[in-house]
């Protein structure tokens, strides 16, 4: 362009002329690598054996990349920024990884890696062939993109990318329950992203920009703040629906227990947290003037979410559905932190003095999100193993598993303690921060509900633990008398077992293959566990859970690194001047 004319315009005003630093490529690598690997896996779909190693290799690389990104942004204290097409922000689409986004991406890739390792040991051939690993990798690139982007419309696009990947995962297996759950999941999530798009369109109409840093500047400076209140309400609606907050939570327990365990685990661990992350980003960082007005509403939503989640968990008997409700109560705790932080009010950029009130609440919410990704994923994987050894997901049909696998019982106890918020595991620290923040804020009733949620979670999971591990195995009618360790039957149970033997599972394989025929008879493996031999637990599945258990234990005992990350993330979120300067350049 510049060479064709003698009056070459000054490109420095419109383009980033300096080549990006080598370290800056880290911010785009998760997304680019994810899409390329997903495409590669799709091309190799006729080679099921190659799928798992490639996917695990990529996810391992993703953990390293996002870890390096996190280390880099923690070292400098400022986001790592890269602009697409070299157009100067706010015109080019920006990727900006601050401590919050990088930490979320890092922890979610660890969770995804564990899920992939678990899946490598549990997936049936048909599930591999129909694309579990490509969908997982593509969904992870959507998740990482959502965490790392610095552009609001781009965030919408990544929401859709992860949604498309998750649609592929949730119907994999194609049983009646999965189709039913898939329809609910797909419709509600599609609607939520539509609301998000509406809010984004309106915000663009008002402030004329989509770059997050630019929005943070311009939304504050707008003369007429009135319309932004409506837009904020729309954003809260959209993200609450994504995150499964109280009145919009019904799709989650209706769908998350239907797909294969590995799929449920990754959904429950990551997807609702993406909604919570978007709420933090938009409500706390972008629209600080509005957040005070909505703080009370958000806190009420959070309390109702915690209460419905923990009551729902008490009322279930299928362990996967108990976990579905625990996801909801965890989201309630995160949103409580967001509401408390929002209540402390707008912070002028650069004004550190007013940060104090909001800091512990926000740090608690971020820490809880990170903790929840690890622990919820671990609990779902554990439920998958319980289903595989015990032959059912129904509490009343399980029992005596302590005798079958003491190691699994130990893992279960740690995860139960951690998710209930008991020390010395990771669940304890965010709850401590949040309870203290609620008390400082004078909202003792919120603190009481946070603690009561922990108590009810302990009761629900403690009961499940006692039933599944300590009780004697119930004598099942129609038992075959000897353990059936046929690996295909056991593995397929993961995907499509129902509430009991003889339940009407009509597994119909996609495009008329005969894969589904071995699925509709889980009755064969309901047997007296104390007498029969124990089905072999594949080491891959145990390794996956062991990694997650080790993480929640180590970072529960040594919480300072994670708290430091949460503090930095909180600081950047509450006072976006550093973020704005990093993206837009120039003086604050």
């Amino acid at each position: 362009m510049a060479g064709t004319s003698d009056s070459a315009p000054d490109l420095a005003g419109a383009l980033v002329l300096a080549p990006p630093l080598p370290g800056d490529w880290l911010v785009i690598a998760p997304v680019a690598g994810g899409i390329l690997t997903g495409a590669l896996l799709l091309m190799l779909r006729r080679y099921p054996r190659l799928q798992a190693p490639i996917a695990i290799g990529f996810l391992l690389a993703l953990v390293v990349i996002t870890g390096a990104l996190l280390a880099r942004t923690m070292a400098t204290g400022a986001p790592v920024v890269m602009t697409m097409g070299r157009w100067l922000p706010p015109y080019g689409i920006t990727f900006a990884a601050d401590a919050l986004g990088a930490a979320m991406a890092f922890v979610s890739s660890i969770a995804a890696l564990c899920v992939a390792i678990y899946a490598a040991g549990s997936m049936t051939g048909s599930e591999r062939r129909y694309g579990f690993f490509p969908f997982l990798v593509l969904m992870m690139s959507g998740v990482c993109g959502a965490f790392l982007t610095g552009d609001l419309f781009n965030l919408y696009v990544w929401f859709e990318v992860l949604l498309i990947g998750s649609f592929g995962l949730i119907v994999l297996g194609n049983s009646r329950r999965q189709l039913d759950g898939g329809v609910r999941y797909a419709l509600l999530n599609l609607l939520a992203t539509t609301f998000f798009l509406i809010a984004t369109g309106y915000l663009y109409a008002l402030v004329g920009t989509l770059n997050m840093a630019d929005i943070a500047v311009r939304a504050r400076a707008l003369d007429d703040q009135g319309p932004i209140y409506t837009i904020t309400a729309l954003f809260i609606l959209a993200f609450a629906m994504k995150a499964a907050a109280f009145p919009l939570n019904f799709w989650l327990p209706a769908s998350y227990h239907t797909p294969a365990t590995a799929t449920s685990a990754i959904f429950a661990g990551l997807l609702t947290k993406v909604g919570a992350y978007a709420l933090m980003r938009v409500l706390i960082m972008l629209l600080p003037v509005q957040q005070t007005a909505f703080a009370d509403a958000v806190i009420v939503i959070a309390m109702l979410t915690m209460i419905t989640g923990s009551l729902g968990a008490l009322a279930q008997s299928d362990i996967r559905r108990i976990l579905g409700y625990l996801v909801i109560s965890g989201i309630g705790i995160i949103i409580a932190g967001i509401g408390l932080a929002a209540h402390s009010g707008a912070v002028a950029p650069g004004d550190a003095a007013t940060l104090r009130g909001a800091e512990p609440a926000m740090a608690g919410a971020i820490l809880y999100s990170l903790h929840s990704m690890i622990v919820i994923t671990g609990l779902y994987l554990l439920a998958g193993l319980i289903g595989r050894i015990g032959g059912s997901f129904e509490m009343s049909r399980l029992g005596g598993l302590y005798g079958s696998s003491p190691l699994l019982a130990g893992f279960a106890l740690i995860l139960v303690f951690s998710v209930s918020g008991l020390p010395p595991f990771t669940g304890f620290w965010p709850k401590l921060l949040l309870t203290r923040a609620a008390l400082i804020d004078g909202r003792w009733w919120l603190a009481a509900i946070i603690l009561a949620t922990g108590l009810m979670t302990t009761i629900a999971l403690g009961r499940a633990f006692a039933q599944i591990f300590w009780r004697n195995a119930p004598q099942m009618a129609g038992s075959t008398g000897e353990g059936d360790t046929d690996p295909t039957a056991l593995a397929s149970l993961d995907a499509s077992s129902d509430t009991g033997p003889g339940a009407d599972i009509v597994a119909v394989a996609i495009s008329g293959t005969d894969e589904g025929t071995d699925r509709d008879s889980p009755a064969a493996i309901f047997t007296d566990k104390t007498a029969g031999p124990v089905p072999d637990l594949r080491p891959a599945s145990l390794i996956a859970i062991a990694i997650l258990v080790a993480l929640t234990t180590v970072f529960g005992l040594l919480p300072m690194p994670t708290i430091a990350i949460a503090d930095t993330a909180t600081f950047l979120l509450l006072d976006p001047s550093v973020y704005i300067r990093a993206v837009l350049g120039g003086a604050p």
């Binding site: 000054d10 419309f153 498309i164 369109g201 309106y202 663009y204 009961r463 509430t499």
Partner: protein, 125 residues
């Protein structure tokens, strides 16, 4: 002109939400499709309506000579159209498959994922 399109868009939203509230999944899907188009029209209108002046800067100048049409909303809509079209296609197949497997597309008749007479949780040990 913006006002007329805003009112039209209101009708789009009303129709979409009306369809979403119906009992049949196919009608719900049509509602989603209408809602998606309503959002596209909303973004288009929100980008301000200008006569079709291409955003081309003549040689020698550094800024466009006159008011130009805003290309950004069109890029956004194009993205949104592609996404909503592909998701709509997926949803159509999914709903058709669930109609085949579950024998109904009425939302109150299908409940395989959450059976009403499910097992109660244990009350003792």
């Amino acid at each position: 002109m913006e006002q007329a399109l805003a009112i039209l868009d209101g009708f789009f939203f009303a129709a979409g939400i009306f369809m979403l509230l119906s009992n049949s999944l196919i009608r719900v899907l049509i509602g989603i499709a209408i809602l998606g188009n309503a959002v596209n029209l909303l973004i288009f209108t929100a980008g301000r309506l200008v006569r079709e002046v291409p955003p081309i800067i003549p040689r020698g100048a550094e800024i466009p000579p006159a008011l130009i049409a805003n290309p950004l909303p069109q890029a956004l809509i194009l993205t949104a159209i592609v996404i909503s079209f592909s998701l709509f296609a997926f949803m159509l197949v999914l709903v058709f498959r669930s109609y085949q497997a579950l024998g109904s597309d009425a939302t109150d008749r299908i409940g395989d994922a959450e059976p009403r007479d499910g097992v109660k949780p244990p009350v003792g040990y």
